[in-house]
Symmetry: D2
Subunit: 467 residues, 4 copies
């Protein structure tokens, strides 16, 4: 097909240049939003009398027919788009022209590819963000449901990877719930800036045609229209904002993946991943590897890289549209695909995981994670915390040398370190008691955790209602 | 000073380790929020009867006195914090102890440095985000005010750095207004996740003391309390979210800086920066360099780097607090300082800049940025756009060879390319007319721009009212 | 095909897990090096008597036959690899088994996929680095050849984007020559660490089979064998080192692209890119856009992103092999593809570019880039440089007000500023003379530049001889 | 002090601009190399007769005296540089002028700050790279020495964090030796591109003074002089190349740190860090935290961030010097400081670490990391590996159910799975035997490891000889 812009050119474009500048391999997935956007545009053109109503209707019919063709071709596994196409926009227009002839040319009235591609990207991302939020919700629901079963399951809570204080498995799982909740809310906030219509900005300066941009926005479900055409065709903030949110979310997944890998080691043994989500070794017959968790942990690099790439792309670009911007979609789609698959696989892996609660509670035996409570007890009996800390430190050293736990000491033994200890201390240093003692809001005590879960159910429900 | 945690240790900490792990050089700027946070904490301790009311009052008096001392020392340029201190939290406690004696030790009841540092960081960032938003507002006000004066000043609007269509300087400046508006809104959104109180999470699991966390939150102006203690002490999302927003904002500044540098070249000559914001060369007597713009452009790397550093830091960290997190403040403060100074200097530079509107309009002479309007005119007279594009392309080639502009052609000359041209075309291809023709919403035509400015005034006022 | 590691597993792998963990879509391009590596391995197995010689020969024949099949299928555009394959290694083994039956299983003796994939990656990258160096050489040759034609073509040399001193186009082009020379040398250095054989490390600990690793290294052209099996299967330094070098090289290309974009503006007009490497606009008939340069500038983000992704991937991974490492190839191939295409397209674009030497020299008229030489002349006549700088500064201000250049002043006019000026100054301030005056080694004077080009020819020849 | 470039300026520089553009806070550490570079420059000026010999000698005396003053001031803890200075170069010149009067002005003859700062940075980095290599060597020496003691100490070798095969502690430690060896070699390679003299390039184009750049290079120990002045003043590749190498090295340290943290957990217990390099908790009396390892792991983000910042800085900068480049030093020094302290602290931490070899070998009990050898034995007795893998898989499942290890099975029990087993198998499955069996080059068997250590000693000695 001869170029649409040959007038002032005396030579053909070099084939290598066509290949280098083409984006069809990346942007083909925009075909549907491209058509949807075009239908809204052309409907408005007809309503405003910019083209005739019958022309408008014919183009819409044509676009819908192209849409059906592509959908059925894809469903049948047939390749639809020509590798030699420049981009999805020109490819859709070509298919339309094949179907309805030259009137197809009127579709591009009062529109440029600069505002068209920005519109397509926003339409696509808007839907994808909703889909990501749904993925998150599924994972959050698993977290809540599982937490509810484990409000009294204790395991070592760690700081610096050292046993610190016992916490419940419910509390541990809910920590991730809130991370993902922030992720979901951040995505919701980003929609304010994604869901804005750039169409009508034309190449860079607006157009002299009497457009009704608000009508197009309503038609396509955009919350508002862009306020400045120069900004509209060169703004890719929404790509960076999505990738920033996605980076945070992948970081959260990487933390969870790290713990699952760690907990799967024979040394920890807190979790056993199902055969269906692990793999073996062709050499070592005993191996059962947490590959899915490892890959999720690794894929955080993909999204960080995409974010850094997009930021680099945009550095110091003068107004308005520059061809560099075409590269934005590689980063965006890389981020989206990684986020989707990682969330889904994490949920799949967790759903079939077996938590070995005996190993968890067993790990608390003699681990001194009840030392704080020993000190607190002395404080309650009148010692300053500083002294109590010192006394407890000496008890810990004694236990290490004697190779026993604090909970193994008799009252008499304890009283050798301080006469302030009374009978009640023996119950207080049991792991479950230690966990239960943390009753402050947001703490690991069962009552506090149940309140936490109740709040979680509420925010999750709020999101569901919204969507 | 002997360590607060020596009980189970048999050896002194190596001095090199103390230096390596100390953070006082970085976190000393948190001194004020640290004291403010401590006052709220200790007031609540007193109200809840966790310590006695008189104790609580004595500690508060002591803290206020320490605050005054530090403030006056700093004002006098006297160094207050000892280089050998571990961090600002222990340094403040030391100063308090010097002032009021051992009762100072009760300040740390039911609190850990893990929740304390998270509280300090959030208090500090919350205020700083508001300060950044104020910096943005000052720049936005300059943009609006200057735009209002230039709604009819024309210059070449560029795509691909090539002259595309004339735009008004007002429209160009307002493009930046909206970028900064998104930045400001993003920061506002981030406050929802910054302005949450972690205090009360203690080391990781909450505490057995009967805290009133809501009271502390109210006292400190936090909108809510954190829901999960494990999450609260290990969450640094707010640092990353700030740096993501800051990266976008610096990217916008880098685009603006790039244009100022470009416009300052003798080739463009659209702007002359004031002597007071440029520098010369010790070698080349003629030089006047836009150093401020160059440095702003360069400093975008600082913030991108800080973002990447923070994301790297957090990758795959297991729950809950890990010492790695201490590094977050380096990135956060690097981002904050860069953003503040870059915004202020950009505004300073712009405020004294002289826009050479003659060079701007002169650049439109014979630049063919009116070619689209020539084609559009033919379309209005019945030619298809494709033909019109072709005809105009030929006119452009003719002009290039004849070394004249489209606006230099007579009607007779134009009619040699198409008889459809009429007298009216001669006025239509004048740059100002071309600019004015773009009347669509968000376009560069004066009426559209005035509406844009009116909206901008409204959103800016909305922010001011909120703050 | 049933898994090779099913023994201890009771359940089938979930299909979603198979898809998530499969790498065939990425690593299929390793098919050839995989076969080449396998041939070397199996030849050694035969020679060492680990398998029988006839077995070894049969497997080699089979592998060569598979190689031919794949090559001819690919040439014919037929898809060879099954989408459901796990990776290219198992796919090649499957094809081999189809061809020669169960003896194919002996190929994997004393080998694990851990050392196999590391070997494949290194073989592939080694060849690709050589190919990248060849791409660089072609560009360097264009630079030298073009520089030779322009040793007396003057244009403004810029600092801070302001006219500083005249330089020759030759000198300007040669600046890029040396950047690419450093890139090429860096890649050569990296080969020392790429071209090391990991095969024989087995899964992680080496093997009990009596391997001759040196023989395999010789066979495959590796310069050495890895010294530690744990390191060998987990080392991806070579990926990061390549991406670091590639990032620097893309950065250099981005600088060149930026200048081409700038020089293509009507304001500069120093270069006119050929119609065959530029594109137009479907809307604006006058447009001729430097898309190729813009895309090269944009693609720097791809490589920076891949580098950051790879670094993130590797952070804090414990020994030895972890599945995360599978992601390395995405980053590596992304980097390689971008580097190849960007280098080739840059050369293509430059080869047909027209340098407008009149615009270049015209830009020096009245630009004061000869001011330093005016000051230097006063110094030669006895004035201190500080005074001379001051006097020249006043002359520049006078000229700006009078709207003339330094070279337009008469001797009499100059002498009004200082009586030290003599007749000779009038020749000295002409741009070509100013350029020629910089005779120091590495300077822009023609003689110095000719020496520079001679050295460049030598280093380029040295590389060619090596390759 | 009045500016050196005021001639054409009518206004004073704004104070905020002076602060924003000043670099003294960052570049003050270059004071010594700045003086050393100046001495070499001025000596050459004298030798070439560009200034008189007596002038040259007086300036050199003055510079040496300034050098002594600064050194003694710093030693005495007295602040030397004025906060209001623009940069270290002008500050040194000011101090020189105070000392020797106006003749100091001749120092800057035939030099610009553009080539001066590039020279200083390279001098500084060259020395620092050597210092980093020395830090590495100290760590490597510890690794070799410790490895020699542990060639028969076994621990579980991991893949996917699961027990794979037993390896010796020597082998494990030596894996890190080779990582650091690559780092050291990479730094050596980078010196080729660092150790090049830019001085003599002047502002951008060279100079008309008859410099002897080779003499200056010899004087300062540079291996060569830069070939192109435009490149020389704008090249910061050496900063990026250093930061790339530093990122890889920090990544290696982060892996080692991760393992130390992991091995310090009670679950692993393979290492006990000394009290002198760990810290406790003010709350939890039992805590002993591996803070140093955590901070090293965290600091990898600093260097990755600096690398990304530097790459961002350089993207798309046109020739030649731009003020953006001033920011390079922040990234460089950040990288250097982090690398130095992290290496030193890692060595300190390791030097006092206690390796619990009983916990290590104990971890191998019943862990099935000898399963491969069971299968290999069957292969030796004639079974195909595939069958052997299957049989061994079943044995593993049997053991898991019976809660015993492979080494706990009697010959009779083993023969129930396959009659091929003979008496010898009982010895073969003992962990040490399994480790010893890996005799291939680079494997974990003691003989192979001793050869590895011998090679390591040789490469380390080679480096020492070189330095």
């Amino acid at each position: 097909m001869s170029k649409l812009w040959g007038g002032r050119f005396e030579k053909e474009t070099d084939r290598a240049v066509e290949i280098f500048t083409a984006s069809i391999g990346v942007d083909e997935r925009l075909w549907q939003v491209d058509i949807v956007g075009s239908i809204a545009h052309v409907r408005m053109l007809g309503q405003q009398g910019i083209i005739s109503l019958p022309e408008s209707q014919e183009i819409i019919r044509g676009l819908k027919s192209v849409q059906e063709d592509i959908a059925s071709d894809l469903a049948a596994g047939k390749v639809t788009f020509r590798a030699e196409a420049e981009d999805i926009h020109s490819e859709v227009e070509r298919l339309l022209t094949e179907k309805i002839g030259p009137v197809a040319g009127k579709l591009h009235t009062a529109r440029s590819r600069n505002d068209q591609v920005a519109t397509d990207s926003r339409l696509y991302l808007r839907d994808q963000v909703a889909a990501v939020q749904k993925d998150i919700l599924v994972l959050q629901n698993w977290l809540i449901t599982t937490a509810e079963k484990h409000t009294e399951t204790v395991l070592p809570g760690l700081t610096h990877m050292q046993h610190a204080q016992p916490v419940s498995l419910a509390h541990h799982l809910m920590a991730y719930f809130w991370m993902f909740q922030r992720d979901a809310e951040r995505f919701t906030d980003s929609l304010k800036r994604i869901n804005v219509l750039p169409l009508g900005s034309a190449a860079l300066a607006g157009t002299s045609f009497p457009l009704d941009r608000e009508a197009v926005a309503r038609d396509l479900g955009f919350a508002s229209v862009s306020e400045n055409s120069l900004d509209a065709v060169s703004d890719r903030d929404f790509v960076v904002e999505f990738l920033s949110g996605a980076s945070l979310m992948m970081m959260h997944l990487s933390r969870m993946a790290e713990e699952l890998i760690l907990w799967s080691t024979p040394e920890f043994g807190f979790v056993r991943l199902d055969d269906s989500v692990t793999t073996g070794s062709s050499i070592m017959p005993q191996k059962k590897n947490p590959d899915v968790a490892e890959l999720i942990r690794g894929k955080v690099g993909r999204v960080y890289g995409a974010l850094m790439g997009a930021l680099t792309l945009l550095k110091a670009l003068p107004l308005a549209y520059n061809r560099d911007l075409q590269e934005d979609k590689t980063f965006l789609f890389e981020g989206l695909d990684t986020v989707h698959s990682s969330l889904k696989l994490m949920t799949l892996m967790l759903s079939s995981a077996y938590f070995d609660t005996e190993r968890m509670s067993g790990a608390l035996k003699g681990d001194f994670s009840n030392a704080t409570d020993l000190a607190d007890d002395l404080v309650v009996h009148g010692m300053t915390f500083r002294q109590a800390h010192e006394v407890t430190g000496r008890i810990v050293r004694f236990c290490i040398e004697a190779n026993v736990g604090i909970e193994d000491l008799s009252l008499a033994e304890l009283q050798q370190f301080s006469p302030l200890f009374t009978d009640s201390i023996l119950a207080k240093v049991k792991p479950v008691a230690v966990m239960q003692a943390r009753t402050s809001a947001g703490g690991t005590g069962t009552k506090a955790v149940l309140e936490q879960i109740a709040k979680a159910r509420k925010v999750v429900k709020a999101v569901v209602t919204l969507a």
